[in-house]
Amino acid sequence: MSRNLILGTGLSSLVVLAALISFIWTPYDHTALNIPAKLQTPNAQHWFGTDHFGRDMFSMIMVGARTSIAVALLAVGIGMSLGVPLGLTAAARKGSWLDELIMRGNDLVFAFPSLVIAILITAVFGAGAVNAIIAIGIFNIPVFARITRGAALSLWEREFILAARVAGKGAARISAEHILPNVANLLIVQGTIQFSLGILAEAGLSYVGLGAQPPTPSWGRMLADAQTMVSFAPHLALIPGLAIILTVLGLNLMGDGLRDWLDPRLRVART
């Protein structure tokens, strides 16, 4: 295991741990307002200080991790569960109209920046964490479809696939039995990367108000709330920012490390 993998896994598990612990314990109730105690800088009672409503920032960061992780994870889940089968199908039917249809569909979705998808979705259904998940998830579909198709295509050229066809197996069976396990590593690595991109995207959406709604804490919204106060309470912006950076950094390092560890030959198209 490389240094990257250890450091990355360490950072990511820290965040996951914080999120998990927040279910049973936070130093303070993250929704409890205490206006007289607002805008405190980090101190012994409030390790990360308090926000403009006097809420404990440490507790909010912990619970915010929950939101970030849940949104990003579900978005990756949507992307994978739709994108991977599409990619496998396209590869299995390479050159057919189905392949063409899937890939053109992918290109089309790809042409919509994630934020634009989010704008469209929220224009219809209103802002909320679920819609953020859907927006980021939709954006993930072509990512996974492409990467799956690309890897699967090169696998379809391999002789062991030919051997399986000689053994009478059909495309669906071969995809499930031979292709999927061999692209799994790649998908895990890409999944980590999309996960980190998902965290960034969630923060961005929440920042512009299209993500999780109050009182659900979200790092992006904490930043939005902090914006007018950076000049006199910089910790309000610094702390959620660092939380995002460290999480994303951890996941990226983990992704890189995983890639090297699982298969040094795999090359992932990083976007």
């Binding site: 307002l33 206006i35 007289p36 409503f53 209103g126 109050p214 009182p215 007018t228």
Partner: protein
């Protein structure tokens, strides 16, 4: 220096004050481009404008306005009684798009006596008539300019329309042919900066000279501490209330509404959401109005009492409802605080952030809401409680009766008494949660003088503004 850049939060959708409710229109054009028969002053008083003087008939139903001589529109045409008749008739017409048609509802006829005299006949006496005629919705427009009024307004005011860069700014130039005194500033640029951070940044960077309706109260202490700037804190006509859907269970129970009123800590909201700016109110009335009664005691912060009231109402475990929050920070921040305070007594209010358009659709028109926070910025608008179809759906015949009486009363003392009575009724009925009177917060460069501190109506009276040496 004879030009100024004034920033405000909202950009007008267009520039016709007589066909939209948007306050932002008045903020730019009122008494700058367009003038009415009467006008508001910074202290809220009503003074003659295009009407030099007027006479009121004995029975209070006929107003004869004497117009100023030599007034011309910006296009050079003369402003005369025909124009007044045209403007008022247009506003009260069947197909009128005027947002405040009620202002003109009592007009029976408008007659041109001579080019400088107009006679307005009312169906019944209206103590508010001169006040009504001061509104931006009642300004005098030129018939031939109606076509393009939304993008190229032509009025009689001291400033002419220059250019409009949508999404950015509107420029006004001094009207050298103005009938009154020439204003000090030759040019004024209105910039639209809705984002609180950008507002702060623009001010700090001295990109703008004045910011009226500064959206980030948390930043005011910094401006106060900075000798480059002055901060003006005044009052607005905006009663910020927790509007309650009176027809929806359990809000149809006055006990529940009372419980909510006691669950709310106004000071915490003013401190938390407005950073201390704002005056607590206990009813729907502006505290700076002489007729105001302080009724905050009716709804003092008392969570235990709130819980007891809820129990009495048969809801010992509280209930769930929705809290729709439009974009301004008084609503968004205030909403978060209120939700937390309500949660303390067991009321779970789900926050739903909405854009104004959605708010109008679901809350205002659809009446599909539990609670919402809005600042009602129209002056003297307690009359909305007499409209049972109004979105918070308060239906009290006694109150409606009272309002009818008020409208036909001209005697000032009698009016004051009636208004105080009205304040008490809605306060004791806990129609809505009364939070605070929105403060008028302006930041300006130290050298700017003549700014209105208070905002009796949405306006930026440019002719009053000048630079000190």
């Amino acid at each position: 220096k004879d030009d100024i850049t004034i920033a405000m939060q909202l950009e007008p959708p267009h520039l016709d004050p007589t066909s939209a409710a948007a306050q932002a229109i008045d903020s730019v054009v009122y008494v700058n481009i367009f003038e009415g028969l009467t006008r508001f002053m910074g202290d809220g008083s009503i003074v003659p404008a295009l009407a030099e003087s007027w006479e009121i008939s004995e029975d209070g139903t006929v107003y004869t306005f004497k117009l100023h001589e030599g007034v011309t529109f910006h296009d050079g045409s003369a402003m005369d009684a025909e124009d007044v008749k045209f403007s008022l008739d247009r506003a009260r017409a069947e197909d009128s798009a005027n947002a405040q048609k009620a202002l003109f509802a009592g007009i029976d006829s408008v007659d041109v006596v001579d080019p400088l005299t107009v006679k307005v006949t009312l169906t019944e006496p209206n103590g508010n008539f001169l006040f009504n005629m001061a509104w931006g919705d009642a300004v005098i427009v030129a018939p031939e300019s109606i076509e393009n009024i939304k993008t190229a307004p032509v009025g009689t005011g001291p400033y002419t329309f220059g250019e409009w860069v949508q999404g950015d700014k509107i420029v006004l130039n001094r009207n050298t042919g103005y009938w009154g005194d020439q204003p000090a500033l030759a040019q004024a640029t209105f910039k639209f900066i809705s984002d609180p951070t950008a507002a702060f940044a623009a001010m700090m960077a001295e990109d703008v000279d004045v910011f009226t309706g500064f959206p980030a109260p948390e930043n005011l202490p910094q401006f106060e501490a900075d000798p480059r700037f002055q901060v003006l804190v005044g009052s607005t006509e905006g009663e910020t209330i927790l509007s309650t859907n009176n027809k929806q269970a359990p809000f149809d129970n006055v006990k529940v509404r009372q419980a909510m009123a006691h669950a709310i800590d106004r000071q915490a909201i003013i401190d938390g959401a407005m950073f201390g700016y704002g005056t607590p109110i206990g009813t729907h009335f502006a505290p700076h109005n002489p007729a105001y009664v302080d009724l905050t005691g009716n709804s003092a912060y008392d969570p235990d009492k709130a819980k007891a009231l809820l129990a009495e109402a048969g809801l010992p475990d509280g209930f769930e409802t929705t809290l729709h929050l439009p974009p301004p920070s008084y609503a968004r921040r205030g909403g978060e605080i209120i939700a937390a305070q309500l949660a303390e007594v067991g009321i779970k209010a789900e926050i739903i952030n909405v854009e104004w358009a959605q708010w109008l659709e679901t809350v205002f028109k659809g009446k599909n809401f539990g609670l919402t926070i809005v600042s009602h910025t129209e002056p003297m608008d307690i009359g909305i409680y007499a409209r049972p179809e109004y979105y918070f759906q308060y239906d009290n015949p006694a109150f409606q009766e009272l309002m009818t009486t008020l409208n036909s009363t001209t005697d000032p003392d009698k009016r004051t008494e009636l208004m105080q009575q009205a304040q008490r009724i809605i306060s004791e009925d806990y129609v809505n949660g009364y939070l605070f009177q929105l403060a008028a917060l302006s930041v300006a460069k130290a050298g700017v003088q003549g700014l209105w501190a208070n905002a009796p109506t949405a306006a930026t009276d440019l002719s009053a503004i000048s630079w000190s040496e």
